[in-house]
Each structure stands twice: as structure tokens, then as C-alpha cells.
């Protein structure tokens, strides 16, 4: 028996009530109930909640049903990569059968992850994910790119996906989040077996009435390697959260990304990396640029536990404020309990270098092209760890954004 909704924490907003109604309409299940309870402890994250100060989901969702002028024309950036495609829509999903190197399982039973208590939206996605409640993807040798596309219009969608990369296999998973409006909420658990490599690519582009949240948890087995590259254009609110755990030693995580936000759009790149085991490496380079009325958020945390000696972790976030009225908030955080480690972070926000701008214009480039070129040059490092053809796709998309009229 599911706990009656009325026994849970009372909803704090109309949007929360709607979510409770949706939960009430789903098949009763113990795990689902636990997930909804985990979510209900905090409810929709808001500005007074640790980790959500600059990304108020509760407030943003009030706009998520509005018609949006900029009905998403954005195309799936990763379409040229081909591969096995999972397409998730508001209602229904195209889930491919097993293919070369890819095994797919659909589960009708929700399964809550043990870290749900720290991630209310991730818990909510599990509670509301249905038909199927969860999807498992196992990637072995010979698999091409696995693409996960989330395309929302109305009423939105909740998904729970678990991806396992088998021992010694190198996999590429490309996630795309598109949609003009509605609430898209996705939880993805990645499990990397020993020696596995995951190239994780993320592209997010939403409209002014869309709230798009993706919470990924990546567990790195012994000697595993994660190479992550994200490009986010924001939405009414877009939150791309990555939680990484170095579990067994000798693993490496590269967590790169760029956000480009214009008027009315918000992109939040949040990450939480836990070094549990010794001798692991984390490298993070996040670059952002905001135009007038755009809002970028970076939150990065490295937690190095006592046992994680010889940790080598570096975090960098640099933002460009392209115009007056642009806003960027950043919170880099290191929490270190081991004594033999190398950890560092750098964080800056500034404007385009006036000397460089004049240099380019003196050679004949019109001001907006010169600015685009300098911003591109600033952003480029965020894509450098991706495979060159992928980096090129992302760079071209960024360039298009930079040259578009505001």
C-alpha cells in the first residue's frame, strides 16, 4: 500500500500538488513511495535550500506550462553521431531492442538509489518514472554511440535510466535535452566496471518556459575513466548535475562543460565529486558566457575522504560577462580529509579583453564577429577533452549562438 499522499509533507505550491496528484495516479509500490518520501522531505528545491540558492526550481516551475514563443527549433546536436537511439517524449518513448554490444532491459518496478536523500529532484524522477519505471542499458564491446534524447513539449516527463559499461569497454553516451516548455526531470545512474571508459556528452537547449533537470550519478570502478563534455544553452531553468564517486582507486574523471546563456535563460552546471579511494584523478574545466539577462551557475565540489590519499584534483571555472545585465554565480568548494593530496581550484568572472577586441577590429572584423571570436577562443578549452569531431560539433553550435542576434 502506498502511503496516502495526505500523510506526506503537505505540498507547498500548486506545482507540488500537481506532482502529488501524478504520484497518486501511478501504480502503488514500496520503492516508489520511498522515492516520493525522499522528495517530499524538501519538496521542490528552492533558493533557501543548500545547493539550490541560485536555481529556484519551485519558482521556475510556475512558468513551465506557459506557451513559449521560442518553441524549440533546436535540433539534436548529436544526430550526426548515429548509433543506438533512445527517444523519450512526454508520453511514450522509442526504446530500441538489444543490438550489437547493447543490452536493454525495461523494468516495471521503480528502484530507489541510496543517494536519493541528497538529491530531491533525482528522487522525484524515480517516483514519477513509469512505463517503464526504469530502463537498464548495458554497453559491451562493439557498441556504437548510445544516444539518449529527451524531447519535451507538454506535460513533461520523468525518467530513470541505468547505464552499465562493462569491464574494459569504451562507451560513448550522448544525452540531449530539448524542449520549449514543461518539466523534464531525468535521473541517470552510470556504473563503470573496472577499466571501463565512458565518454559522456550532454547537450541542453530549452525554451523560456522549460524546466530541465538532469541528475547523473557516475560510479567509477578500479581504473575506470569518465570523460564528460557538456554544452548548455539553458532554459527557464536548466540544471545539469553530475555526481561522481571514485570508488576503487586509479580512476580518472574529466568533467568539462560550457554554458552560454541569453536573455531569460538560466543554466546551472553543478557537480559533486567524491574521492573515496586513493590515487584517483579529477580534472574539471567549466567555461561560461552570459549575455544581458542570461544567468549562469557553476557549483563544483570535491570531497576527498580520509582514505583517498594521493588524490589529484583540479577544478577551474571561468566566466565571461558579455554585456551589462548578465549574471553568473559560482561556488567552488574543496573539502579535504586526507593529508597527502593535490587539490586546487580557480574561479574567475570578467569581461572581454578590450585590447584583444580592438586588435581584432583593427584587422577588419566587425565588433560582433570580433566578440564572437574572442568568446569562442575563451570557451574552446571546455571542449578540448572530447573527441575532435565531437568538439567540432559543439564548437560550431557555440559559434552559431555567439553570432546570433541577441
Amino acid at each position: 500500500m502506498a502511503t496516502p499522499v495526505s500523510a506526506l509533507h503537505p505540498p507547498r505550491s500548486e506545482e507540488e500538488s500537481a506532482l502529488a496528484v501524478r504520484y497518486g495516479g501511478l501504480p502503488a509500490d514500496v520503492e516508489r513511495r520511498k522515492a516520493f518520501e525522499a522528495f517530499s522531505k524538501t519538496g521542490l528545491p528552492h533558493r533557501r535550500l543548500e545547493g539550490w540558492r541560485w536555481s529556484d526550481v519551485r519558482a521556475a516551475l510556475k512558468f513551465a506550462t506557459a506557451e513559449s514563443e521560442d518553441d524549440a527549433k533546436a535540433a539534436d546536436l548529436f544526430a550526426p553521431l548515429g548509433g543506438t537511439v533512445f527517444e523519450f517524449r512526454d508520453i511514450g518513448a522509442d526504446i530500441p531492442p538489444d543490438g550489437a554490444g547493447v543490452r536493454v532491459t525495461k523494468s516495471s518496478k521503480p528502484e530507489l538509489m541510496d543517494w536519493a536523500g541528497e538529491a530531491p529532484l533525482a528522487a522525484l524522477a524515480v517516483a514519477l518514472s513509469d512505463a517503464p519505471a526504469a530502463i537498464g542499458i548495458e554497453i559491451g564491446k562493439g557498441a556504437g554511440t548510445v544516444r539518449l534524447s529527451f524531447i519535451s513539449g507538454s506535460p513533461g516527463q520523468s525518467r530513470h535510466i541505468r547505464v552499465r559499461v562493462l569491464e574494459g569497454v569504451e562507451a560513448t553516451v550522448a544525452e540531449t535535452y530539448l524542449g520549449a516548455r514543461a518539466f523534464t526531470n531525468v535521473t541517470i545512474e552510470y556504473m563503470l566496471d573496472p577499466g571501463a571508459v565512458l565518454n559522456r556528452l550532454t547537450f541542453q537547449s530549452g525554451g523560456k518556459s522549460a524546466v530541465q533537470a538532469s541528475t547523473a550519478h557516475v560510479r567509477l570502478g578500479k581504473g575506470a575513466r569518465l570523460v564528460q563534455t557538456a554544452l548548455a544553452f539553458g532554459a527557464r531553468l536548466a540544471r545539469l548535475e553530475t555526481r561522481v564517486t571514485h570508488e576503487a582507486g586509479g580512476s580518472e574523471a574529466i568533467l568539462n562543460g560550457a554554458y552560454l546563456v541569453r536573455d531569460g535563460l538560466h543554466a546551472d552546471l553543478t557537480s559533486h565529486v567524491v574521492h573515496e579511494a586513493p590515487g584517483c584523478v579529477t580534472r574539471q574545466t567549466v567555461k561560461g558566457a552570459a549575455r544581458k539577462g542570461g544567468h549562469g551557475v557553476f557549483q563544483g565540489k570535491f570531497l576527498v575522504e580520509r582514505a583517498a590519499q594521493k588524490t589529484d584534483a583540479k577544478m577551474q571555472h571561468h566566466a565571461l560577462l558579455l554585456e551589462d545585465g548578465a549574471e553568473v554565480n559560482a561556488k567552488p568548494e574543496l573539502e579535504i580529509y586526507a593529508d597527502d593530496v593535490q587539490c586546487a581550484h580557480g574561479n574567475t568572472a570578467g569581461a572581454i579583453n578590450a585590447d584583444a577586441l580592438f586588435y581584432l577590429r583593427q584587422r577588419g572584423l566587425p565588433e560582433h564577429e570580433a566578440r564572437a571570436m574572442l568568446t569562442e577562443s575563451f570557451i574552446a578549452e571546455a571542449f578540448a577533452a572530447a573527441e575532435p569531431s565531437v568538439a567540432d560539433l559543439m564548437m560550431r553550435e557555440a559559434r552559431r549562438w555567439l553570432l546570433a542576434p541577441s
Partner: protein, 254 residues
Amino acid sequence: MLELVNLHARVVPEDGPAREILKGVSLKVPKGEVHAVMGPNGSGKSTLGYVLTGRDGYEVASGSATFEGENLLALPPEVRAAKGLFLSFQYPMEIAGVPVMTFVRAALNAQHKARGEPEISAPDFLKASRVAAEKLRIDPEMLKRPLNVGFSGGEKKRLEIYQMLMLQPRFMILDETDSGLDIDALKVVADGVNALRSADRAMLIITHYQRLLDYIKPDRVHVLSQGRIIKSGGPELAHRLEKEGYDGVVGEKA
């Protein structure tokens, strides 16, 4: 071709008060001529280059600057560039992530577009680039690297002249192009500059030392001191400055 009349200009730093640097500069550079502006540090030489090319933070208080009869001062830098003004920077900027060739091609096409000319074709561009690089003894590999990033001072100067050869400007301002160059590099750079001398182009060479003028022979030499041109003469004036120093020549007037 270029005419300055009683030009007063000040530098307006982002913080701090404006300072008047040019205090009534008058200068005429006819087509086909090379003029040198020499002067001690702080005399306003670089400011002159920036004012002519339209850098932000340099304000003209009074006077005029015309290029082929057209008022320059109202035009943004890129329009002046398209009209043929080129400034070889004393300290060229490093632009990470943008290869030299990509940049120069974008600049060239932007200028063509502004002048209503067709885009340059890829083969024509590559051919011109090869010729310019050979002339300046630039390793073609260098042109694939990000603009000026990690280049030595001399390499940067060479690359300025490479850009000049590629863009084919009509009026060139060389700001301390000789600094950072050894004697062999100086000759190579001067050869590149001299290749652009023609009856329908003109040049202004801003320099502290006479050395560069041994290789790029000026038609006229002007001495700038405290924001004014206090003396003009033929090439022999540069040699006098070298021998007697600025104090000697400047003192003469007083």
C-alpha cells in the same frame, strides 16, 4: 592621403582622470610617401597610432583627421580597416584557440564584404599566404597555430607584417615594429614592408630609434615631443637624432 590638423587627443582610462596626450598635431602624408614619427618615450607616438585607428579610450577633443578627404574620427575601427588603415601593433595580442590562417581569412573576408568585394577563394588565399610566408621566412606550421600564442616577440612582429601582406592595406602605421627584432629579422621584416611601398600607398613609421629607418627609407621625418610635432625634415633628421639625442634636437627649438 592622410591629413591631421591641430589634433588634440586625450586618453580616458577606465579609472582615473583623462590626460591630454596629443596637443595639436598637424601632419600631411601624401600618397606614395613614407613618413617617420620619432620621439622620446611618452611623447605620444603610440597614442597617435591608436587615435588614427579608433581605439576605445582615446578621445579627440579638437582638430581633424581625414583620410582621402573623409573624416576618419567618426568611424569605428573595422570601417577604418576596410578603408585601408592598418596598425602594426607594438605588442600584438595573443588569441588562444584561433589559428592564424583562420583569423586572417576571417579578417580579409570581412574587409572584402565591407568594401562590397567578393570573398577570396580558398586556393587564392592559400597561394597568397604561401607567398607572404616565404617572403617573411615564416614556417607554414606556425600559421596553423593559435594567433601569437607562445610566439616570441620577433615572431609576433613577423606575423604582423604577414597580416599586412595578406590584407594589402593602403595606409600602414608601424608602431615600434623594430623592437624585439634582431638584425637578421629586422631585414626580413623591412623587406616585407618595402614590398608594399607603392605610388598609391603611404606609411607612417613610429619609432624610437633610427635603426629601422636604415632599412625602410623615409621621405620625411617628424619629431614628436610632448604631444606636438616640433621639427620636420628629410631622412638626415633621423641621423641627427641618433647622433645628438632628443635633448639636443628638442633643445634647439626652445
